[in-house]
Amino acid sequence: MLQEAQNVVSGISGADIATAAKYIAAGLCMGIGAIGPAIGEGMAAAHALDGMARQPEMQGALLRTMVLGQAITETTGIYSLLIAIVLLFVI
């Protein structure tokens, strides 16, 4: 059994490690990169809801500004997505 394990380990080449690192990096990139936008968009929605509850007549303007702000917040998430895509398919 030990012999088998040693055979497996010696069969791993540098390219295999690079491929594994690529997938792990893409997963980490997306997972960690999605935390910030999620919190940010949630905060935007929460405060917009606060505003709407206080002033229902402002709903249209608040909704528009909220969507715009969320789209801008999302940019960092999109950047990490692009990096993950580059890691997976380009490098």
Binding site: A61, R64, L68, I72, E74, T75, L81, L82, I85, F89
Partner: protein, 238 residues
């Protein structure tokens, strides 16, 4: 399995490249995106021609249903714009540009829902082109409305040593504008393709398609247009 998935997804990004030799330089075109872009343009023109039938000046007769619906739509778009622009004059001036941009991006995003067609906006070159259009539009308008002196002085605000940061900020605007649209549409396409080929070939993909293609496509088109408005507004205002 990962090998297959990677192969599948590289196939997604496969492009039919046409190379044009122009004065010794190679010009490369992604023909898929080019053809899809033309499909969108032709669809928009046909739609406009079709909706134009039966329009009449609302002087003596009451408008038919198409005209009433279109009037309502234009009113909504106009009110959205005049709420966001600094002045009413600017809103009227920019209305054709912004609404054309919106309709083009909207139809481009929705084109990905149709089988055998792909969204032109999942190509970075197309979104970058649109973003650069907005970029040049905002700066030319700023020079025109504010004058060259005040335009250049705007880069020294609030302090002169902020110039590099202001310049980086200006360059980052079209980049993030383009990457946002591109990333959103590409992510939707990749997700739908992976689910369709690997996990659930029936029932689930149409639902995902409606969610990512129609819902997110609509929101992203709206966001693209509103951000164009915001960038132009920021560049033009004092």
């Amino acid at each position: 399995m990962f090998e297959q998935l990677a192969g599948l997804l590289t196939h997604l990004g496969e492009k039919r490249i046409a190379v044009l030799r122009l004065f010794g330089a190679e010009v490369r075109f992604d023909t898929t995106a080019l053809v899809m872009s033309w499909v969108v343009i032709v669809l928009l023109i046909l739609l406009a021609l079709w909706l134009r039938r039966g329009l009449r000046q609302p002087v003596e007769e009451k408008p038919n249903r198409t005209q009433a619906a279109l009037d309502g739509l234009i009113d909504i778009l106009k009110s959205q714009l005049s709420g966001n622009f600094a002045s009413e004059r600017l809103a009227i001036m920019m209305f054709p540009f912004i609404s054309t941009l919106f309709l083009y991006v909207l139809l481009s995003n929705w084109l990905g829902v149709v089988p055998y067609l792909s969204s032109p906006t999942q190509n970075i070159n197309i979104t970058m082109g649109l973003a650069l259009l907005v970029f040049f539009m905002s700066h030319v308008l700023a020079v025109k409305l504010k004058g060259t002196r005040r335009y250049l002085k705007g880069f020294l605000e609030p302090y002169a040593f902020m110039l590099p940061i202001n310049l980086v900020g200006e360059v980052a605007k079209p980049l993030s504008h383009a990457f946002r649209l591109f990333g959103n549409i590409l992510a939707g396409t990749i997700l739908i393709t992976v689910v369709m080929v690997k996990f659930a070939p029936i029932i689930v993909p149409p639902v995902l398609s409606i969610f990512f293609g129609l819902f997110f496509g609509g929101i992203q088109a709206f966001v693209f247009a509103i951000l164009a408005v915001a960038y132009i507004n920021v560049a033009v205002e004092d």
